[in-house]
Amino acid sequence: MKFAKKKGENKVEYGTISLPLPLIEKIKDRIKGTGMNSVSAYVAYVLRQLLSFSEEKGKLLSRESEEEIRKRLKSLGY
């Protein structure tokens, strides 16, 4: 059984996508003080949410419910 990955093995590969500059600026504003490191991280996060829940007949996890999950985890000591 193998867990430890050799250097370079199974490394996540990244590609480049283009976004309009004003949108990038808006995202930069949006992520200030949120703990998100970069515009790329934010875009990846939003898309992941979208794709994960596409099976849920279009029902996305709302900002409010995600906030609720974070609050609950905080109340559990995380």
């Binding site: 867990f3 992941r48 099976e55 999950i69 995380y78």
Partner: protein, 429 residues
């Protein structure tokens, strides 16, 4: 007709406080009875000491480095999420949905765990808590005299605990979903009552002996002291004994709820066409190893969890060989005469169940609450390697860089016998 499948995951349930594992108090009357009537695993371990990585192992049959999620949310990194996206091809709820199962989850954790479920919900919470649990109300409370603060906080706490469904509500909702569901169904129920601060327990402190100050003296790091103080204040704790009482009260509540589900299945004659998996996702440390009220670290208290399996027409048996949470999926797939096209880390437990043939000689765990700690455990020995042992929760350090324990002589993992030439070392490199 394919059998229904029910997964009951009990959060932070360690074996240490269950009489079916030798504890002196009967905290688990119903679970013990269910264990006696089914396949009962005495040496079952979780691949992680925290929910997100452990639940991912339960749903994928993969170890955390292979399903990507090494750390508990919100300490999960972007890279871990990316890895999960790229590496996870088998996801149990989605797989069963494709096979025609109606998939139902009763949980609140959401996130990516909603994937593959037709229904993902918990009991609706009362709206009043939104008003009572706001920063505005908290600010008012802080300006009150001490007696009024204490009284006010009790009201707010009582209302805020409503955000967690008590075990009996989860069970009742589960039963009503089973009645409505089209068969076959996959029902996943996650019970949270046993997780600190035991939000649904009604237990009130009775102990007069206050040892909290003594515990504080034992804690060396300031950050851990602060964390501990916050946790004590959260539940107005007087003593570690009270903490145990609250934990056991929460166990009893879940035990009652699970008993109710089992009785329903029996009454409706559903046991002959239903697979049931009852397990803890990870354990907990109450005061062991100077880890207080958190499940950080990879000692057995945080990784040794209960497992009961029910398969239609399979005779009861007590199993004393090693098994791990990644093994449940291969075992179910073999029973269903299905096969995953993807590689799984787990192994089927059927040779063990049918012929007492050992299926594994070691189990692996990763610490989802610290930066970088992993362990390998055989029946007799355990090695823990900590490359970066800093705890995400209390920012202190719970493990030395290398620890090894002789579990035959030292079940409590107190005497570190690690030597450079440890024979277990090669399994963690």
């Amino acid at each position: 007709m394919k059998p229904n499948i029910i997964f009951i995951v009990i959060d932070a349930l360690r074996t240490k406080n269950l009489s079916m594992y030798g504890y002196e108090k009967e905290t688990d009357k119903n679970l013990k009875k269910i264990a006696k009537e089914n396949l009962f695993f005495k040496k079952y371990f979780s691949s992680s000491n925290s929910t997100a990585p452990a639940l991912n192992s339960i749903f994928t049959g993969l170890y955390p480095p292979n399903h990507g999620i090494l750390h508990q949310f919100p300490y999960t990194s972007e890279e871990e999420m990316d890895k999960m996206d790229q590496q996870v091809k088998f996801w149990l709820p989605s797989y069963l949905k494709e096979k025609g199962y109606e998939t139902i989850a009763i949980d609140w954790i959401g996130l990516w765990f909603k994937k593959g479920f037709d229904y993902y919900e918990e009991k609706e919470t009362k709206k009043s808590k939104k008003f009572l649990n706001t920063p505005f109300i908290k600010k008012i409370l802080l300006n009150l005299p001490a007696w009024a603060y204490k009284f006010g906080k009790k009201i707010v706490k009582a209302k805020s605990s409503e955000q967690f469904s008590p075990a009996i509500d989860t069970a009742t909702l589960g039963i009503s979903k089973m009645k409505e569901a089209k068969q076959p169904f996959f029902l996943f129920m996650h019970f949270w009552d046993t997780h600190f601060p035991f939000p649904t327990t009604k237990y009130q402190a009775k102990e007069k002996d206050n040892d909290i100050d003594e515990v504080l003296k034992k804690i060396i790091g300031e950050s851990q002291k602060e964390y501990f103080k916050k946790r004590v204040a959260d539940i107005n704790l007087k003593s570690t004994k009270d903490m145990v009482n609250k934990y056991e009260d929460a166990i009893a509540n879940i035990d009652y709820a699970v008993g109710k589900i089992y009785k329903f299945l029996k009454k409706e004659k559903m046991l002959d066409n239903t697979i049931i998996v009852i397990q803890g996702d990870h354990g907990d440390s109450i005061n062991e190893h100077n880890i207080f009220f958190e499940h950080s670290g990879l000692y057995d208290v945080s990784t040794h969890v209960p497992l009961i399996l029910h398969f239609p027409k399979i005779q009861p048996k007590e199993i004393n060989e090693l098994a791990e949470n990644v093994d449940v999926i291969p075992t179910i797939l073999e029973f269903l005469e299905e096969k995953s096209n993807e590689r799984l880390d787990g192994v089927s437990l059927w040779p063990l169940i049918n012929n007492d043939e050992k299926v594994r000689d070691k189990v692996f765990s990763w610490d989802g609450l610290s930066h970088d700690i992993k362990s390998v455990r055989t029946k007799n020995k355990k090695l823990i390697i900590a490359k970066d042992p800093t705890c995400h929760l209390c920012k202190s350090i719970h493990h030395k860089n290398a620890e090894e324990y002789d579990l035959v002589k030292d079940e409590e993992e107190l005497e570190n016998i690690y030597k450079e030439d440890s024979e277990l070392r090669k399994f963690l490199e």
